[in-house]
């Protein structure tokens, strides 16, 4: 299927956020794709936006079925969460389960004043009552496909689809 260009979608996402987000908002990217986007957005948007990283593996609801994924990264939040305005950043919003896990994890670090959600692609298919505050593009993707973001050596982002590892609902990484 035809996917939008990742760099153009990122520019569109930044346009939607510009003027809307708090000047001191902290960006928290969900590994791996969300982390890349959070870093780029922090450079593109006006204001001071420190970037943190979150790996939601320890908070996922599919651990019973899938176990622990091989490479868990370290959650790194180099700022205070208590009372902060947080923009959670992910590459693809799908079932909403990663975002649920990320919000749970954030609360174990403190009580944020506000959490917004910015995603590059909203592909629909939600299984939880979660919506993006900002989305670069919204598109419909068949259930048997995953949308995957990659980053080239020069930092350029690209989108592709691949066969979903598991078609059952709620298993999508997003």
């Amino acid at each position: 299927m035809a996917l939008p260009d990742a760099e153009q979608t990122l520019a569109a996402l930044a346009d939607r956020m510009r003027g809307a987000i708090a000047f001191e908002a902290r960006f928290v990217g969900i590994y791996s794709g969300g982390a890349w986007i959070a870093e780029r957005l922090a450079q593109m948007l006006p204001g001071e936006h420190p970037v943190g990283y979150i790996d939601v593996s320890f908070y996922r609801d599919d651990f019973q079925r899938k176990g622990l994924k091989p490479e868990v990264k370290r959650t790194l939040l180099p700022f205070d969460i208590e009372g902060a305005t947080i923009v959670l950043v992910d590459d693809v919003l799908y079932t909403g389960r990663s975002v649920r896990a990320a919000v749970n994890e954030l609360f174990d670090y403190g009580r944020p004043a506000c959490i917004e959600l910015a995603v590059l692609i909203d592909r629909g298919g939600r299984e939880l009552p979660i919506e993006a505050t900002y989305a670069g593009a919204r598109l419909a993707v068949a259930r048997d496909l995953s949308v995957v973001l990659s980053r080239a050596a020069d930092g350029r982002l690209a989108l592709a689809t691949e066969a979903a590892a598991d078609e059952r609902t709620g298993v999508g990484d997003a």
């Binding site: 320890f58 908070y59 176990g67 994890e105 670090y109």
Partner: protein, 319 residues
């Protein structure tokens, strides 16, 4: 025969020994322990990974430290922990080990952490669970006889990697009572599996196993000679009961020859780290000036031990 620790897909389902474990399995545990280490630094030292699971600490041999670190690790994973002091219960009434296990499985145990004075007891339990189609109940060896103490070996490996990065460039000395030490055996297997070029066993002839070279280590009876050029010095605890068995003349004599003093440590590399599995006998195997000195990483070992045990339990519970 399949390794009883691994499932059909090569996933770790019990942790009984580091001997024979593929290097990628060991590296995955060490890698997974890194993010767990940061959880213990938070205000909320807990993740919901094992919520609702029941972990039974089955300690047939006394241990406060190991049992406590397993308990902390399980609790930080949100599991329910049940401590059984078996010495004081069923076994003394005549129940067999496997009957005890079957009863606890009937109570829906998800994981057993087993410490036993008999080498092979955790293996017996794991084999029993595998054979009776209950391999979803996991076994972690928390020390069996003189055989193995794999989570201690893993936390030692984690500590060494934390300070020294690449095993393939290191010289590691293990000093003391290697003969009776399951800690030493587990560490030696881990180090050789990860490609450590030089592992030395240092101790008196009476405290080194006769064929210890077969494990891939070099033997030294002269500690000063053995420490030369080492990156890591691992001191083992001298168990007081060894003194009675005529293996050693006296604690003072032992300290003179095999106690780690600042003078002896100066023979190792200038940036060498000093490790000890605890509990320490100050003035017997280690001088206080070394134990409390800036090269000592003995307390970080304890902290890392919790993260490593969290990693082991979550990898097992996910397989």
């Amino acid at each position: 025969m399949r390794n009883p620790q691994l499932d059909a897909n090569g996933g770790l389902t019990h942790l009984l020994t580091l001997e024979g474990l593929p290097p990628e399995v060991i590296v995955r545990i060490l890698d997974t322990a890194v993010p767990f280490a940061s959880i213990s630094e938070r205000d909320v030292k807990k993740v919901p990974l094992l919520r609702g699971r029941s972990v039974f600490n089955l300690f047939f041999e006394n241990s406060t430290r190991t049992r406590t670190t397993f308990e902390i690790a399980a609790k930080r994973l949100s599991a329910d922990v049940i401590n059984l002091n078996i010495g004081a219960s069923s076994t003394s009434k005549g129940e067999t080990l496997l009957d005890t296990v079957d009863n606890l499985v009937a109570m829906n145990a998800d994981m057993f952490v087993v410490r036993h004075s008999q080498s092979g007891a955790p293996h017996l339990i794991a084999a029993h669970l595998n054979r009776t189609g209950r391999a979803h109940v996991h076994v972690v060896n928390a020390g069996d006889g003189r055989h193995a103490h794999p989570t201690q070996g893993l936390l030692d490996l984690f500590t060494i990697r934390h300070y020294k990065q690449d095993f393939r460039k290191l010289t590691v000395a293990i000093v003391g009572d290697v003969l009776h030490s399951r800690v030493a055996r587990s560490l030696i297997h881990g180090l050789t599996t990860l490609g450590t070029p030089e592992v030395r066993a240092i101790g008196p002839k009476t405290l080194l196993p006769t064929a210890v070279q077969a494990l891939g280590v070099q033997v030294h009876h002269d500690m000063r000679e053995g420490l030369k050029g080492c990156d890591v010095v691992v001191m083992l605890r001298l168990q007081n009961e060894r003194m009675k068995g005529a293996l050693l003349p006296s604690a003072g004599e032992y300290f003179k020859h095999y106690g780690l003093t600042p003078e002896k440590l100066a023979l190792a590399k200038a940036d060498a780290i000093v490790m000890h599995p605890g509990p320490m006998n100050r003035g017997v195997e280690i001088d206080s000036a070394v134990a409390d000195g800036d090269r000592s990483v003995i307390l970080p070992q304890v902290t890392f031990g919790i993260a490593v045990r969290m990693a082991v339990m979550s990898i097992l519970a996910g397989n």
